[in-house]
Amino acid sequence: MAGGRRPAGALESEVMAALWAADQPLTPGAVQEVLDGELAYNTVQTILVRLHDKGMVSRTPSGRGHAYTPTAGPTDRAAEQMQALLEHGPDHDTVLQRFVTSLSDADESTLRRLLRRRRPQ
């Protein structure tokens, strides 16, 4: 991959993102697989142990090792706060740095076309 070496914080974020995206606890091997084998098994293992030490993930015994899952924050409170954050809609977009914003119908169909062109299979 073109990125080369990435800082430890970025790797932790990537592993956390993979754990959150999964709907079940993941073993280090499963994490490695989800990340397309980009990281060495030992690297993944080290990151997971570090995340566990920080209290960001919990683990359960699985086979000869452990399976890891993210420690979830209080969901209701988060949902409330997110709602408050977004309730002003486009007005807030002048301040918020959002990855994606609302789509117009034209944008939506263009995006679908661009995605289809990419994935004929």
């Binding site: 959150w20 969901t75 995605l115």
Partner: protein, 317 residues
């Protein structure tokens, strides 16, 4: 009134006309910075002129009646009453708009940090909110995390699940680019500039687009594949637009217009195309415009002050 009062107006109009074109023709990172500099200079110049005009209009002791300043600018005195009233109203409106911008920024920053606190445990870079709606934000700040200039990346579970592993990597790289590039400062300057001088609203829209484009390009470089970055963006946008959970945010006609011009489809298409070359001449012209405007403004203030000082008797001498 001094003749080169027209300079800030001309620069603002020039930026209003050219920024939509510049936004789509220039390589985004540097173009964004140059446009911010030019707009900041234009906003500072127009505000300075308004304040000078007010001084001339309402300070009876002003000695600018002499008709000529050290800098050679010509004066029209007295300032017509209608102009003076219009300027006062304009200034009051601008002050209100700036106050509004600052208040809104403060509230949103507080809300973002509260959400980070609810969902995070320590000083980590990535904060995941256990919410199904797909959203992602860069949260600037000083949390002591070196990779992101101390800022944080806030995403929802819904966004992480919408993407595959390379897509998530692109998303993280995009948000990190906002933080390391300090894009929130670009946008804060443009918010205040446009509040002071509404002619700069098109430049603000262009900068909003350019910082997103700069972050998109950074993400594409980081993961080493423009198509993967484009797909991640398109997938995330479509997921966010899908009315899951029934809380689909309504798109106002105004917003729809803005996005069809500088929208997501355009960002995705730009990633499908080859990277834009740096157009150094245009960049140099923008920076020259910013510098000239700033220098003229400083010159005028200096000339004004010296003209005043030359006539004001200093007590005790």
């Amino acid at each position: 009134m001094i003749t080169n009062v027209h300079l800030p107006l001309l620069v603002s109009l020039l930026l209003a006309g050219s920024s939509p074109v510049l936004a789509t023709r220039l390589s985004p990172a540097r173009a964004g910075t140059a446009l911010v500099a030019a707009a900041a200079a234009a906003a500072a110049a127009s505000t300075t002129w308004v304040l000078l005009l007010l001084t001339v209009a309402f300070a009876p002791t002003t000695h600018l009646l002499s008709g000529r300043m050290a800098g050679g600018g010509r004066l029209v005195h007295p300032v017509p009453a209608a102009v003076a009233v219009a300027v006062v109203i304009g200034l009051a409106a601008a002050t209100l708009r700036v106050a509004n911008v600052l208040r809104r920024r403060h509230r949103i920053t507080r809300q973002l940090r509260a959400l980070c606190q609810t969902c995070g445990v320590g000083r980590e870079e990535l904060i995941v909110a256990p919410i199904a709606q797909p959203h992602a934000f860069a949260v600037p700040g000083r949390f002591g995390h070196g990779d992101s200039s101390g800022g944080r990346i806030l995403v929802t579970v819904g966004m992480l699940r919408a993407l595959d592993a390379p897509g998530r990597r692109a998303l993280l790289a995009h948000e990190r680019a906002h933080l390391t590039g300090r894009h929130h400062r670009h946008r804060a300057v443009m918010e205040i500039a446009a509040a002071l001088n509404p002619l700069l609203i098109p430049a603000r829209a262009a900068v909003t687009y350019l910082v997103e484009r700069a972050a998109d390009e950074h993400a594409a470089t980081t993961i080493g594949d423009r198509r993967v970055a484009a797909d991640a963006l398109a997938t995330a946008a479509l997921a966010a637009a899908a009315p899951a959970g029934g809380t689909h945010p309504a798109v106002s006609p105004d917003t729809a217009l803005a996005y069809s011009r500088f929208g997501l489809a355009r960002r995705v298409a730009a990633l499908h195309a080859a990277p834009l070359p740096e157009r150094h001449l245009l960049l140099v012209l923008l920076i020259a415009l910013a510098t000239h405007t700033a220098a003229q403004t400083i010159h005028t203030v200096a000339a004004f002050s010296s003209a005043e000082l030359a006539h004001i008797p200093i007590p005790g001498l």
